[in-house]
């Protein structure tokens, strides 16, 4: 069943087309990779899907609903989460607070309920705490639970970002270079967690330059070059593709 569908998306700045007639579909429960050289338009694609960059033409549908004109936070609330290339932790909050802050639709975030509905908010907090603890232990972050997020290592920050996304209870997550700047040991762990989440039914789309790790992880991938999708298929098929080799490695391999 189709979950995310992108049809003929074009986006750009002036005469430069960052995305040129891009179409792709992701089915529910799928684990899909996107590869491509720097500047191929991968991150722009994520930004268009999530509403950070506006498209010039084309359509985005998510879970049967058109996303073309929804503001960023509305897209998130419909179950589509993303991470960024560079970790964007809430540096002065602890790991636990980072996760708690991510939870959607909190009663305690509104001023009037805050004044009059103390007990319900306390109950809500307790529920969120339990959920945050569960995710923290799933991601192996229990040891740093009460550390300021700014003190974490690059890899831990990536795990933290994943944890925050999970607090949203999303249907689909878009991960932008989750393995970049992460040490090999943690890459294995991160990769394992992503696979586990996918097994539990979460749809995942990953942009990644670490082709070895990515092809182990995803059954299907797209390759992009200069704003266009050049091919699609299994990892072997895509990496064997003449155009991909040409674009990605200058034909060396």
């Amino acid at each position: 069943m189709e979950l995310l569908s992108i049809k003929n998306i074009t986006a750009g700045f002036g005469s430069f087309k960052a995305l040129d007639d891009v179409s792709l579909t992701v089915n529910k429960g799928e684990l899909v990779g996107i590869i491509g050289t720097n500047g191929a338009g991968k991150s722009t694609l994520f930004s268009v899907i999530t509403g950070y960059v506006s498209r010039l033409s084309g359509h985005i549908t998510f879970a049967g609903e058109t996303f073309d004109h929804l503001p960023i936070h509305q897209r998130v609330r419909r179950g589509l989460g993303r991470t960024f290339q560079v970790p964007r932790e809430f540096g002065n909050l602890t790991v636990r607070e980072n996760l708690l802050a991510a939870a959607p639709n909190q009663l305690g975030e509104k001023l009037l309920p805050l004044m009059f509905m103390g007990r319900r908010i306390a109950a809500e907090e307790e529920r969120l705490e339990a959920r945050a603890r569960e995710i923290i232990s799933f991601l192996n972050l229990s040891r740093v639970e009460n550390e300021m997020a700014s003190k974490l290592s690059g890899g831990q920050k990536k795990l933290l970002e994943l944890g925050r996304l999970l607090m949203l209870g999303p249907q689909c997550i878009l991960l932008d270079e989750p393995f970049a700047g992460v040490n090999p040991v943690l890459i294995g762990e991160l990769s394992e967690r992503i696979a586990e989440l996918n097994k539990r039914g979460l749809t995942v789309v990953i942009i990644e330059h670490n082709l070895a790790e990515l092809s182990r992880l995803v059954p299907r991938m797209y390759a992009m070059d200069r704003g266009k999708i050049i091919t699609e298929g299994t990892a072997q098929e895509v990496l064997a593709n003449e155009q991909v080799r040409e674009a990605y490695m200058g034909g060396v391999i």
């Binding site: 960024f84 932790e89 809430f90 540096g91 909050l93 991510a102 959607p104 805050l114």
Partner: protein
């Protein structure tokens, strides 16, 4: 002497209320509001005009707080779509626009003549010699209530959300937070404090004029926050005490150090504040009692 101490106490507490509002906006939400004095002026004039017309002071103070809060709403809508530095300029412009309006709309504000005979707090309730002390106690009570409310607020899920927005707004939006709404609310709450402080000050001074509401007042509150630390209640309290204590206390430097003329003394005072500010920023950028927070 006792009277002078009370006067300083009142000034400190009025500034502290403003600083509390700005701390919520800047220290906890990351909003650079350089137009704080605009909201103070709105509060002061609203409360004064109403009270002169015969509205009981408590009611006119509530109206003043309310109007200052409402005025923050459109600013939020306009400015919060823009980045941080733009907000600083927009709010500074707003406060100057308020001051110009107060100067020119003479039918309402009596322009440069200012408003006189503003009803004094507690007058007719307690004997005249005790009024100042009562105002001091009232301000103390209001500050305590305000700071308890702040503490509850910043420890709540709302506080967590605005701190998240301060730390990384893009990430907060990526998690589905309607950041503009949070920022508007924070701006409005801070404006409420400023408006109330303005109203209280007017009913203490009994005379106000537009030139009291120059940007320097905003900068003083900023200095207090930079000195003390903008993201802890302790920082706000200590920063305000140091600033006002110094501004007032340094009048007497001339008494201890001979050979300085009055004119020179005025410059020396500002120079000392400047030096103190530079030292704090260099050696303790988070302020004396601020948390050592990381700014992006």
């Amino acid at each position: 002497m006792e009277g002078y101490v009370i006067t300083i106490g009142i000034t400190i507490l009025i500034y502290m209320l403003m600083a509390g509002g700005l701390a919520l906006q800047y220290g906890f939400t990351g909003l650079s509001n350089f137009g704080l004095v605009g909201f103070v002026a709105i509060g002061a004039y609203t409360s004064s005009i109403l009270a002169i017309k015969g509205v009981p002071i408590p009611l006119s103070l509530i109206a003043a707080t309310g109007l200052a809060t409402l005025c923050a709403y459109p600013i939020g809508i306009i400015a919060l779509r823009l980045g941080g530095n733009y907000l600083a300029i927009v709010t500074l412009g707003f406060s100057e626009a308020v001051r110009m309006t107060l100067q020119t709309e003479e039918w309402l504000t009596r322009g440069m003549h200012g408003l006189t005979k503003i009803p004094r707090l507690f007058s007719g309730w307690v004997e005249p010699s005790r009024i100042d002390l009562c105002i001091l106690l009232l301000l103390l009570a209001i500050n305590i209530i305000a700071f308890l409310a702040f503490r509850k607020l910043v420890k709540s899920p709302f506080g967590r959300a605005i701190e998240a927005i301060r730390d990384n707004e893009t990430a907060a939006r990526a998690l589905g937070k309607d950041t503009a709404q949070f920022k508007t609310r924070s701006l409005m709450l801070g404006a409420a404090c400023a408006g109330l402080a303005g109203g209280l000050q007017a009913h203490y001074l009994t005379f106000i004029s537009p030139e009291q509401y120059v940007p320097l007042v905003t900068f003083y509150v900023w200095i207090a926050l930079v000195l003390g630390g903008a993201d802890t209640m302790k920082g706000v309290i200590v920063g305000t005490c140091i600033l006002v204590g110094f501004l007032e206390g340094s009048r007497f430097i001339g008494d201890f150090v001979g050979g300085i003329s009055e004119v020179k003394l005025a410059s020396v005072r500002i120079w000392m504040i400047g030096m103190a500010l530079i030292c704090v920023v260099l050696y303790r950028p988070q302020g004396l009692f601020g948390r050592s927070i990381v700014r992006n």
